[in-house]
């Protein structure tokens, strides 16, 4: 045992393990493990027929980490930076990855991006819908209650936070829109009452 030189014994012998578990020990020899050792020169370059690849055309100023010596030859162009979020992102990329500011700005930009898109979606025929887009419908079609309760699950302790974190900003935004609309309506009704706005 631990307080002596001997390793605590294993209950099953290799033969028993081999019998119980298909394939037990087939990779016992580290030579059969593809990622051992870590660095292994790939003579065939894994199918590449270049030493340095051709460069993808840069169609807009592609943001990049200042820790890179150049723009990489290939890159994604899925969502070019745009709007206020895009400006924050471009600014974030002026800090190296080693700086907390880099990541905190990017995380902040993600939230700004979300709200820019929610607002824009209200000008379209398919406004964002927090009910369908969170997928909560599955709670009713796929055993939301019985999957959770009486199961000793640790995550049930914080799952009540999800509707607050996801829904809270929507409710707050609805409140702002409502009180904004009310004050516009009130001032319009004042305008309507005697033809001109009262001045105090």
């Amino acid at each position: 045992m631990t307080y002596t030189p001997h390793k605590p014994p294993i209950a099953e012998s290799p033969d028993e393990l081999r019998k119980r578990i298909p394939g037990w020990g087939v990779d016992l020899d580290a030579k059969d493990r593809p990622s051992v050792p870590k660095l292994q020169f790939q003579e065939d370059f894994t199918g590449a027929h270049w030493e340095f690849p051709e460069r993808q055309p840069e169609k807009y100023p592609r943001e990049r980490s200042v820790e890179h010596g150049m723009l990489t030859p290939v890159f994604g162009i899925a969502q070019p930076p745009s709007g206020v979020a895009g400006a924050i992102r471009r600014y974030a990329y002026t800090y190296s990855e080693g700086r907390t500011a880099h990541w905190l700005l990017l995380i902040a930009a993600d939230r700004v991006d979300a709200w820019e898109h929610h607002l824009k979606s209200f000008l379209t025929l398919r406004p964002d819908n927090p009910i369908t887009e969170t997928g909560v419908k599955a709670e009713f079609t796929h055993n939301g209650l019985s999957s959770r309760f009486g199961q000793n699950r640790a995550d049930v302790k914080h799952q009540w936070l999800d509707p607050v974190i996801v829904g809270g900003p929507w409710i707050a935004a609805a409140g702002i829109v409502y009180s904004g609309a009310r004050s516009v309506a009130r001032s319009l009704s004042l305008v309507g009452s005697d033809g001109h706005r009262q001045v105090h």
């Binding site: 020990g25 990622s35 980490s65 890159f75 899925a78 887009e133 939301g144 000793n152």
Partner: protein, 371 residues
């Protein structure tokens, strides 16, 4: 999360291919950007990095693939010839991700991993078509093939990073697809005892049947670390594998500060349990993904115990030749992890179920409507 009509992607580089997706999957990693934990996740981004499909178009320099080929595509985007790729570290490629040097290129996983749209879609742009994808062998099922593009390769790689020797006691934290494959792979490498820890009974059940492991539900013990010491005659395990990552449960403050309020890169509950559960001089393999911000890791214990910590995103293609043999011989049966098949149109519900772990879900596949 919603379904959008987008333009079909175009080749942007002579070695690009466009693949029509036949089958995709949702990975535990997808939950991190879904929950806002992956910085620079832009609205309109198509998620998904586990997929198989048919080559629909090839760029002018593509030699190894032709239109009509059925391919499996590793979740890593990689060039084949940078310093890292030349040495087999495909997940660390330096030529595909301008946004960060600390992580390689990944499909559908924010701009921090390069800004590539992903495979939970009908079509996807596949860069370096001569390097990444492989044609699917005739004998392999589609479900095995799609799970080999990430979860299976990652679990198998995770066991290798544990440097397991014959008779080792191995603890796997997390009974998700990655943890279940890691547990089974630990046996292939000669482990003497494999213990899987989670809090979801349906997954622990799978760990017993699929991975032949002993299981512990951590909610049933006041202190799971102490329990591990007791069951190893007070020595601690020889190897631990973290297959949980950034959204770990088991400590309210750690979980909420990371997954909900983004004040740390990830909740290192499972990693800290791993550090404390192993013996001195042990090895920890970290497959669980963490964000780029700092996390409250018990580094002092790791230091004082003389631990070796091995980590990485899995270099998927490097695992394939050997993994194909294991699948063909029936030693690993990835498709047994599939519990749900979600039509692409119901993707929002699919994510919610996987995230809230409803309905006994272990591995959900995503089926595009055109497939």
């Amino acid at each position: 999360m919603r379904v959008e009509e987008k333009d079909r992607p175009k080749t942007e580089h002579p070695n690009d291919a466009i693949v029509r997706v036949q089958l995709a999957a949702i990975c535990g990693s997808d939950l991190h950007p879904h929950h806002g934990m992956m910085p620079d996740t832009r609205i309109g981004h198509t998620f998904g990095h586990e997929f198989i499909g048919v080559v629909d178009e090839v760029g002018s320099s593509v030699r190894n693939l032709s239109v009509g080929d059925r391919v499996m595509v590793p979740f890593n985007i990689f060039c084949g010839t940078c310093w890292y790729c030349a040495r087999g570290l495909y997940s660390n490629c330096h030529n595909v991700n301008p946004n960060a040097t600390a992580v390689g290129g990944i499909y559908g996983y924010s701009h921090t991993t390069g800004g590539y749209d992903g495979g939970q879609a009908e079509f996807v742009r596949v860069p370096f078509a001569d390097v990444g994808p492989s044609t699917i062998p005739d004998w392999m099922s589609d479900e095995d093939a799609v799970l080999l593009t990430d979860a299976t390769a990652t679990g198998y790689f995770g066991a290798q990073l544990g440097d397991i020797v014959e008779g080792d006691v191995v603890i796997v934290f997390g009974a998700g697809p990655v943890g279940l494959i890691a547990a089974k792979s630990a046996w292939l490498m000669g482990a003497g005892r494999v213990i899987v820890i989670d809090h979801l009974e349906h997954r622990l059940e799978k760990a017993r049947t699929f991975a032949h492991a002993e299981t512990y539900n951590f909610t049933e013990y006041g202190d799971i670390v102490l329990e591990m010491k007791k069951t190893t005659d007070w020595l601690g395990a020889d190897v631990a594998i973290d297959a949980v990552g950034a959204e770990a449960d088991g400590n309210f403050t750690q979980h909420v500060t990371s997954a909900k309020f983004k004040l740390q890169g990830g909740s290192p509950v499972a990693l800290n349990w791993a550090i404390d559960s192993v013996r001195k001089g042990a090895t920890i393999s970290v497959m669980g993904a963490y964000g780029p911000l700092f996390s409250a890791v018990k580094f002092g214990d790791a230091m004082n115990k003389g631990l070796t910590i091995h980590t990485n995103r899995a270099p998927v293609k490097r695992q394939w030749p050997r993994l194909f043999e294991h699948v063909r011989n029936g030693y690993l049966k990835p498709s047994e992890l599939v519990t749900h098949r979600i039509p692409l149109d119901d993707i929002a519900e699919g994510y919610h179920m996987f995230s809230a772990k409803l309905d006994g879900m272990i591995k959900p596949l995503v089926v595009p409507s055109a497939a």
